[in-house]
């Protein structure tokens, strides 16, 4: 078990490294000039050249890559001044430093920017997964219990709409009705206090949740319909257990196992940033950050968001694998 986990961990690190390397080179071979993006479209060429030198972009790509990898994880002093030219852009745990450099555009350490943004995105991801799981399981259960009735058709139809509708459409509709017309919720933003955060997260979490729930509904419904045909469920019914108990205690528990994989993967993907939803609701997380970094060709921020996103997905996969091994003894063999 431990050996398996360690092997998976090694693979995970390899995947993150490969993603990082590929992103670095793609970012550098694209026909665009980050120095021009910093200086502005109308800056005079000599100013652009000076900015390029200051950012170290005049050096060969391989040299830039070697420096990036050398600085990414290194050892340094456990305490240091933020103005220290050598370690000022580092984040550290005791003597282990992580250095993603400084944002070209914001001129701040990328680790600081990610440190501000990541918790907000994680918060949104957890809220969205809660919404989609809750909604998906309830509607899936209803559809399965009422299968082949109008309720089932309506639920499956609604889930089809949910899967087909892009998140921006769901988000705009929710924003229009709940925030603009009814004024029950704020139109967008993040808020300053915990209470405000909790109110502000409702719309983006609902947007992501409805989109995800549509898929979960179908999965839960199909799994439940399969599960009720199993011997132990039939036995439970034959024993005269109440139907709600048969569905929830015996059928649903089995049907939820595949959902664990989906939840894990969705959580990982959402931690990478829900780009459209974060932008629409001005939720200051990684999604909105990665969009602006891409548009500005802000290399260090792009690298930072890619590393966090890939690490989140890889970690989610790892957790799902391990949890499967815990849940299902057959996998351990």
């Amino acid at each position: 078990m431990i050996k398996r986990a360690l092997r998976r961990l090694a693979w995970a690190l390899l995947v993150v490294w490969a993603t990082t390397t590929v992103t670095f080179f793609i970012n550098n071979v694209l026909p665009s000039d980050p120095a021009r993006m910093v200086a502005g479209p109308q800056a005079r060429p000599k100013d652009v050249e000076r900015v390029r030198q200051q950012l170290g972009l005049d050096r060969p790509v391989l040299e830039q890559y070697a420096r990036f990898m050398r600085r990414l994880v290194h050892f340094g002093p456990s305490t240091f001044d933020k103005k220290d030219p050598e370690h000022g852009s580092c984040a550290n745990v005791w003597r282990v430093h992580i250095d993603l450099g400084k944002s070209y555009q914001q001129r701040r350490p990328v680790t600081t920017i990610l440190g501000e943004r990541l918790p907000r995105t994680v918060m949104l991801a957890i809220a969205a997964v809660l919404v989609q799981t809750l909604l998906g399981v309830i509607t899936g259960l209803i559809a399965a219990v009422k299968r082949n009735t109008a309720v089932d058709t309506a639920t499956v139809g609604a889930s089809l709409v949910g899967i087909s509708a892009p998140t921006f459409l769901i988000g705009l509709a929710l924003q229009f009705v709940l925030a603009h017309r009814l004024r029950l919720l704020p139109l967008d933003g993040f808020g300053d206090t915990t209470a405000e955060h909790l109110v502000c997260i409702v719309l983006p979490a609902l947007t992501l949740g409805i989109y995800g729930a549509a898929y979960y509904t179908r999965v839960v419904r199909d799994e439940l319909i399969g599960a009720v045909k199993l011997d132990h469920v039939r036995t439970a019914r034959a024993k005269g257990l109440p139907m709600w108990r048969v569905w929830i205690r015996h059928a649903l528990r089995n049907a939820l196992v595949p959902l664990v994989t989906l939840i894990g993967l969705d959580l990982g993907a959402l931690v990478g940033g829900a780009i459209v939803t974060e932008t629409l609701f001005r939720w200051p997380g990684l999604g909105a950050l990665s969009v602006s970094a891409l548009l500005d060709r802000d290399g260090p921020v792009i690298m930072g968001t890619v590393i966090v996103s890939s690490a989140a997905i890889v970690l989610a996969n790892l957790v799902v694998d391990v949890s499967y091994a815990v849940l299902d003894p057959r996998v351990r063999r």
Binding site: D33, A39, Q105, Q106, I113, V177, R181, R282
Partner: protein, 567 residues
């Protein structure tokens, strides 16, 4: 059958809900209290879909940041609404007869936001800090006429700029190595404005912005918002009127309109095209909207080193083939037709000037003279190969490219549209021998004709990479004229020189001019004192609020909204 009918009914009901829900009427303007005289107090709320990157005037380069920098940092001189240079922290300034020395005399008793005195020495330090070789400034080259700039900024052989001289506690002299008629305009820009002593001699990422403007920074939550509050030590007694201004960043255009109509934003400057028309056609809102025109030019940039545009007749054909009035219809609410380089605000208002005009017959004739005759009846002839035309995802170019494609096809130039990202577009169009034809634009850096000629038409701006002269156009006669015009101190003589330069460009057509862009904004009736500057967009420094004590809430009940849908 019943099931199908039920489904159809459900579908119709859903569609009706969507339609009724989304086709809402424009909300009425919120009332003003009707006071005639300006009063102090209140907080103005503004928003933008974009974000600001830095609040240090030494490095900030974008228009959006410029709006807030204008409030935080005052200069020795500034611009009036027509773009003329006027004293600001300086009570007066003078220029030597040969145009080589400018002297600025500071007002008495001026203070920075941190309470420290503003002296000529502090002003000199701020200039050298902004132009220091380690500062990632994107405008340092604008100041290359300063005596000693080259040694300080480029060669790094001197620690100070020779031409920046402190002549007394309140007198600062600027020496130029040669006369520059645009210098005052350049000096009035935001980059070299005085910054508090805490900024030091060199740029530092961690510095907390502090200047001498009418407002001081209260908070800046990066990626979200910035708030400035009134600086009570401002030089004009009783001003500014507002207690504070809050800017919210990264807000979508639809959300901005929702918030504006709810009264959570006081001015909406970023409108969707549909909303622009909606406000313009509503009699209640029409008096509350206005256009903001900051000089800019837009057109087609033709690479004179690449075929077929290495042939001047083909370029002339393009300039004559573009029906600018039809082009304007792409975005009537934002485009003003332009047929020459100089915009009216910078002296391009002579009705007798020979501009680039739409003349289809002449365009066909130019193609014939170029050796590529085109027969509109059969569609035969013209330039035989497709011409790659790069555009990036942006509202105007995506639409205008198709208009240009159709118009140039009528003279035998067949464009192949290529959609790329904005950074790629910039890199491609500024690289030698890469793009033959592309849409291009140039916005005013500082209000002077030289800013529209020197960077994009002078041959010394040609580079293999990063060429601002993306047409790679070189004309020694024009170069000489532009150098002399830049030095010429007599405005009348100078105007003639730029007219002559404009004639050359219009005739040789490295660009086919098309439009200049204007921005429509709308404000609530209680927002007073808005000014429309030709230099600073969204100029809110002198705004005051005539707001009733309590604006009635527009929050509807759920029941009310449902009933509204049924109406």
């Amino acid at each position: 059958m019943r099931s199908i009918r039920r489904k159809t009914e459900l579908l119709l009901l859903s569609s009706a809900l969507l339609l009724f829900g989304c086709s809402e009427a424009t909300a009425p303007p919120l009332p003003a209290s009707g006071n005639a005289s300006a009063s102090r107090g209140g907080e103005l709320h503004l928003a933008s879909f974009a974000d600001i990157k830095s609040l240090d005037p030494a490095v900030a380069a974008d228009t959006l940041t410029g709006e807030i920098i204008e409030l935080l940092f005052a200069g020795l001189v500034d611009f009036d609404d027509q773009g003329h240079v006027v004293p600001d922290l300086a009570e007066r300034f003078e220029r030597s007869d040969d145009g080589l020395v400018y002297r600025f005399f500071l007002r008495e008793g001026l203070k920075f936001h941190d309470g420290s005195p503003i002296t000529a020495k502090e002003c000199a330090r701020s200039i050298e800090r902004a132009l220091h070789p380690d500062t990632p400034s994107s405008f340092a080259q604008f100041y290359d006429h300063l005596d000693g700039f080259e040694e300080f900024n480029v060669k790094k052989t001197e620690d100070h700029i020779r031409g920046v001289v402190v002549e007394g506690e309140r007198v600062l002299a600027i020496h130029l190595r040669e006369a520059d008629a645009a210098f005052l305009s350049i000096f009035a820009m935001q980059g070299v404005r005085p910054v508090c002593p805490s900024a030091g001699d060199k740029y530092d990422d961690t510095w907390q912005p502090c200047g001498a403007g009418p407002f001081k920074l209260d908070s800046w939550d990066r990626g979200r918002s910035a708030r400035v509050v009134r600086f009570d030590g401002w030089r004009e007694p009783g001003k500014p009127y507002l207690d504070a201004i809050t800017y919210t960043y990264g807000m979508g255009l639809v959300t901005q309109r929702f918030k504006f109509e709810q009264g959570d934003l006081d001015i909406d400057r970023e409108l969707l095209l549909a909303d622009t028309f909606r406000y313009q056609s509503d009699t209640r809102w029409k008096p509350l909207g206005a256009y903001d025109i900051i000089p800019s030019i837009g057109g087609e940039e033709m690479n004179v080193e690449m075929p077929p545009f290495d042939n001047v007749e083909v370029r002339r054909a393009v300039a004559a083939a573009i029906d600018r009035e039809q082009f304007r219809l792409v975005k009537t609410s934002a485009l003003v037709t332009l047929e020459r380089v100089l915009v009216p605000e910078l002296g391009g208002d002579d009705p007798t000037f020979k501009k680039q005009k739409y003349d289809y017959a002449a365009a066909l004739e130019h193609m014939k003279r170029a050796g590529f005759p085109y027969d509109p009846k059969t569609g035969a002839g013209g330039w035989p190969k497709p011409i790659v035309y790069p555009i990036y995802k942006q509202g105007l170019y995506e639409s205008s490219a198709q208009v240009i494609q159709q118009q140039l096809a009528k003279i035998g130039l067949r464009l192949e549209l290529k959609v790329v990202s904005y950074p790629t577009y910039l890199a491609m169009t500024k690289r030698r021998a890469t793009v033959a034809l592309s849409p291009a634009g140039w916005s005013q850096d500082f209000p002077d004709p030289s800013d529209f000629f020197d960077p994009i038409f002078a041959s010394n701006q040609i580079n293999d990479e990063d060429s601002n002269n993306g047409a790679f156009y070189s004309n020694p006669k024009l170069d000489d004229l532009l150098v002399r015009a830049r030095r010429e101190l007599d405005p009348a003589v100078r105007k003639k020189m730029y007219d002559e330069a404009d004639t050359i460009v219009c005739d040789e057509a490295p660009w086919a001019m098309e439009y200049q862009y204007k921005y429509y904004g709308v404000h609530q009736p209680y927002v007073k004192g808005l000014r429309w500057s030709t230099v600073w967009p969204n100029f809110v420094r002198d705004v005051w609020l005539d707001k009733p004590r309590k604006v009635a809430s527009r929050r509807p009940s759920v029941l009310g909204w449902m009933l509204g849908l049924l109406k």
